[in-house]
Symmetry: C2
Subunit: 202 residues, 2 copies
C-alpha cells in the first residue's frame, strides 16, 4: 500500500528524504493504532516501528493525539472524495452513489485497514473520538449536508452515515452471518435506498 | 442499578449467599469490561473489584471468556425481550416497536452502560466479537427473523440492526452533533420507517 505524500511543513525546503521519513512514520502510526488501538499505542512504539528516534516523531507531528489526527487524515483521504462523488450525477442517484463509494472503500482490505483502526480507536477512547468527530463531521458529513437543500441536512447525513457505518461494523468487524458473506451488490441494493431516503425524502 | 439474579449452577443447593456473590462478581465484571474493554480486563481485577478471591471467580464462571459471556447475557436480558415486543402488535408497526424498544434501552444510562461495554469489547477483540456474534445472532436477530415470513429474513434483521446500532454508535459513543443532542422522538421518527422497510418491504 502506498501512502500519498503528506503536506510539507511550512518554511521547510522541499526535501524528498524528509517527506519519505514523514510517510514512513505515518504508515507506522497507522499500523500501530490499527493493531493496538489508541490507548495502547505509544510514540516510542511508532518510532521503533518506523526505525527512527521518538524525538523525530515529536518533531514532525507533535503529540500522540496530533499523530493520530494526521494518520486519520491520510486514511480518510479516499473517503473525503465522497462529497464530490455525490455531486457527480442526478439527486435521485445520490443514495446509490454514496453507498457504492463508501462500500468500495470498506470492501478493499487495503483501504479498510485504516478505517478499522479509526473506528476501533474512536469507540474505545474519548480523545480519538474527538478527533474522529472533528474530522468526519467537519470534512465529510457537513460537505455532504451542504449539497442537500434541506433544513435538517446534517441530521440526515448522520443517519445515512449511521446505516453505512453500522452495516460496515456488522459485516467487517463483528462478522455477523449472513451479512459478512453476502455479495456486496446485494448489500448495496438494500442499503442504497435507505441512504437515499435519509438524504432526500421529504 | 440492580442485577437480575443469575441462573444457579446445576447440582448446587439454592443459597442466597452464593447467588449474591455471583451477582456481585457479574456486576464487577460488567464494570471492568465497560471501563477497560475485554483485553485489559483481568480475572484478578474483577475479583478485586468484587472483593473476592480470583479462585472464586473461576469457580463460578470459568475463564475470562466465560465471564464475559455471562456478563453479556445479563446485560442483554432487557434487549432479549425485543422479539416479544415485536410480536405484540400488527406487522405495519414492527419497525416503530423495535426502534422504540431498542432506543429505550440505549437512551437510559443504566441500561446503556453494559451495551457500551459489549460494543467496545466486540469492536476491539476477536474473542469478544465471537461471544457477541453467538449471543446476538442466535438469541436476538434469529428470533426477530423467525417472525418475518421472508426468505432473506436474517439479512433483513441484520441490516435493521445495523441502522439501529450505527445510530446508537454515532449518538452515544462518537457523540456526533446534531445527532447526539437531538430529541429521541425525532430519531425514532426517522429510524423507525427504515427499520420497517428493512424488515418487511418486498
Amino acid at each position: 500500500m502506498t501512502t500519498p505524500p503528506a503536506p510539507r511543513r511550512r518554511g521547510r525546503p522541499p526535501r524528498t528524504e524528509s517527506a519519505d521519513t514523514r510517510d514512513r512514520i505515518l504508515g507506522a502510526a497507522r499500523e500501530e493504532f490499527s493493531a493496538r488501538g489508541y490507548e495502547k499505542t505509544s510514540v516510542r512504539g511508532i518510532a521503533k516501528a518506523a526505525g527512527v528516534d521518538s524525538a523525530l516523531v515529536h518533531h514532525y507531528f507533535g503529540t500522540k493525539e496530533q499523530i493520530f489526527a494526521a494518520a486519520i487524515e491520510v486514511a480518510f483521504a479516499p473517503a473525503l472524495n465522497a462529497p464530490e462523488a455525490l455531486a457527480d450525477g442526478p439527486v435521485e442517484g445520490v443514495g446509490e452513489r454514496l453507498t457504492r463509494f463508501v462500500f468500495g472503500v470498506w470492501d478493499n482490505p487495503t483501504t479498510r485497514a485504516p478505517l478499522l483502526a479509526i473506528l476501533r480507536s474512536a469507540v474505545t477512547n474519548e480523545t480519538a473520538a474527538a478527533v474522529f468527530r472533528r474530522l468526519v463531521a467537519a470534512q465529510l458529513l457537513r460537505r455532504v449536508a451542504a449539497q442537500l437543500d434541506l433544513p435538517d441536512a446534517e441530521l440526515r447525513a448522520e443517519l445515512a452515515a449511521a446505516q453505512i457505518v453500522g452495516t460496515a461494523l456488522m459485516r467487517y468487524v463483528i462478522k455477523l452471518e449472513p451479512l459478512a458473506s453476502a455479495e456486496l451488490e446485494q448489500i448495496i441494493a438494500r442499503v442504497a435506498p435507505v441512504v437515499q431516503a435519509h438524504l432526500t425524502q421529504p
